[in-house]
Symmetry: C2
Subunit: 302 residues, 2 copies
C-alpha cells in the first residue's frame, strides 16, 4: 500500500504529478499517465461488453432535464445532482451580470434553468431512450462516460467528476439477477487478476435525509445493491470500485419499458468507477506504472 490515509495519498498523487489540484476540491487535472491508465482499463472492460454482445452507446456529460426528472434521482440523491443554468437575457441583463461579477456578487442570479442537467450516472440518459417493448431476449447496453456528483472533498477517492463504464440489462427478473451475478463474477476476477484484494458487500446507495433512511433499510433487506470494495489508502476495505444494482421496475415504470409480452421490464446495471480503479491500482502497485508487475502492465496494454 502506497499511502495509509486519503490525505497522504492525495499529497503523493499531487507531488508525483499524476493529478494536479484545481481551485475547486474534487476537480482535478489528470496527467497523461493517469488518463492513459483510465483509458487502458476502460478498453479492457470494453472487450467484456463486446463479448456479451452488448449494444454500445456513448453519451455526453449532460442529458435532457426532462428525462432526468423522471429517473427519481431527485427523490433519493438531491444533494448529488447538478443542474445547468444559462444566460438568456439581453444587453441590459448582461450589463447587470457583469456588474455583479465585478462586485463579487452572485452573477448566477441573472441565469435561467437550462433544459439540461449533468449526468449523475452514465446510465441515466439511457432509460428515456429505451421506451416501448423490448425484444424477447431482452437488451444489453454498454456505456462509458462522465458523471457528476456534488460532493466536494479533498479525498482523491471522491471526485466530483469521474467516469463510469457500465453494462445495463433490460428484460425479466431472472435475466436481471443473472446479469448481476455474471457481472460480479467477471469484475471480481478482473480486479483480482490486477492484483487488487476485493470484497463483495451488500450495501445501499447514499440516500438523502429522512426519506433516505427508509429507502436504505428496504434496499439492504432486499439486497438490491452489491459493491466490490477495496482498501485504498486505508486499512479498511471501504472504496467501491464496482457496483451492481437491481432496479426491479423502478426505471421501466417511469419510462414505460416493457417486456415482449407487454409486462413491465426489470432493469439492472453493473459497472466500474474508472478513476477509482486507477487509484486502487496506484495505491496497490505504486505511483509509477512503469514499475508495475509485467503481467498487469500486459493486461492493461501499457
Amino acid at each position: 500500500m502506497t499511502a495509509s490515509t486519503p490525505d497522504e495519498f492525495r499529497a503523493q498523487l499531487l507531488a508525483s504529478g499524476l493529478l494536479a489540484a484545481t481551485e475547486e476540491d474534487g476537480i482535478y487535472a489528470l496527467s497523461e499517465t493517469f488518463d492513459h491508465l483510465v483509458l487502458a482499463f476502460d478498453a479492457l472492460v470494453d472487450r467484456h461488453g463486446t463479448a456479451l454482445g452488448a449494444t454500445r452507446w456513448r453519451f455526453p456529460p449532460i442529458q435532457s432535464r426532462k428525462g432526468f426528472e423522471r429517473t427519481g434521482f431527485l427523490t433519493s440523491f438531491p444533494h448529488l445532482a447538478g443542474s445547468v443554468h444559462v444566460f438568456t437575457g439581453g444587453d441590459r441583463e448582461h450589463a447587470e451580470l457583469l456588474h455583479r461579477l465585478d462586485s463579487g456578487d452572485d452573477w448566477s442570479r441573472q441565469l435561467s434553468t437550462a433544459p439540461s442537467v449533468l449526468c449523475s450516472a452514465c446510465c441515466q440518459p439511457l432509460y428515456p431512450m429505451v421506451s416501448g417493448r423490448l425484444p424477447a431476449e431482452g437488451l444489453l447496453v454498454d456505456l462509458s462516460g462522465w458523471c457528476f456528483r456534488h460532493e466536494p472533498s479533498l479525498d482523491p477517492r471522491r471526485m466530483q467528476a469521474f467516469r463510469q463504464h457500465e453494462v445495463v440489462y433490460f428484460g425479466n427478473p431472472e435475466g436481471s439477477r443473472l446479469h448481476l451475478e455474471r457481472s460480479l463474477a467477471y469484475a471480481s476476477d478482473l480486479l483480482t487478476s490486477l492484483g487488487l484484494a476485493i470484497e463483495d458487500v451488500v450495501t445501499n446507495d447514499p440516500f438523502f435525509g429522512r426519506i433516505g433512511s427508509m429507502l436504505t433499510e428496504s434496499m439492504l433487506n432486499a439486497e438490491l445493491k452489491h459493491e466490490l470494495v477495496a482498501a485504498v489508502a486505508s486499512e479498511s476495505a471501504s472504496t467501491a470500485l464496482f457496483s451492481a444494482n437491481e432496479h426491479r421496475d423502478h426505471f421501466s415504470s417511469a419510462f414505460g419499458i416493457q417486456q415482449s409480452d407487454g409486462t413491465l421490464a426489470d432493469t439492472a446495471c453493473a459497472g466500474f468507477g474508472l478513476e477509482r480503479v486507477v487509484l486502487a491500482l496506484l495505491d496497490c502497485h505504486g505511483l509509477d506504472p512503469a514499475r508495475w508487475p509485467a503481467s498487469i502492465r500486459q493486461m492493461l496494454g501499457i
Copy 2:
C-alpha cells in the same frame, strides 16, 4: 456530399443510427460507430501533440467557477456558458423541491450556485493552472475534452456538448504566431488528406450583444482568429472544423502568466472540433465508414 441541408443531414444521421436524438435539441446519444470515429481522429491528432513535445493534461467536463470567472468568457459569450447549480438544503427544502417537481414547477429555485461551471472550451481550465513564470522556451500543452455551449439547435453541426482537441502555446508574440501558422498548416494538410475541401478564413468569435459588436470589429481588424471551414450538408463552406486563436495577453494578464523575463506572456490555442470533423467526413465520404476510401480508413486506423 451526402446531404444538401442540415435538416436532411440530421434525418440521415438519425435514420442510419449513427446518432440518436434525445429529449433536448443538440444533445445526442452517439453510436459505437460515431464515437469510434471521434476517438480515431482524436488519436491521430494526439500523435501531433507528441511530435510537438507538448505536455498532456486532460480535464473533466467541469471546471472551478473561480478560475472561469477570470477568463472573460462572461463578457464575450454569456449566452453560451453553463453554470452548475446544486441542492444544499435539508429535509424541509427537499420536500419543497419534490413538491415543485411533482407540480411541474421550477424545482431549480431550491438550488444554490455550485463552485463549478461547465467547460466552454477545453483550454479554459488550463489558464488558472499556468500562473507564474514560464520556462525560457515557452510551454506547449496538448488538451482534449468535453465542452458545453448553450445553443440548442436541430442542426447536427451545432451540438450543445462536443469534444475539442487543442494545443495551447504560452510564450512570446513570435512564438505565438509561429504556433498558429504551424498548427494551421498541419491541420490544413491533415483535413485535406482526409479528403475534405477546406478554406482558411479570418473570422471572429460569436460575441454577444452591443459589447460584442465592438469586439468583433477589432478582432477582425487584428486577424486574431483563423478557422478552417468546410461545406458540410451545405453548398457554402461555413462549418468550422479547426480554429486558431491569438489571445495576446488576454489570459496571461488575468492569470499572471509571465515570460521567463517577467513580462506578460502571449498565449495562443489551435484545435479541432472533433464531432464536427466526423460529421464532415460522414457528409463527404458517406454514412458507412466501412465504404470510405481505403487510404482514409488506414489513416484513421479503422
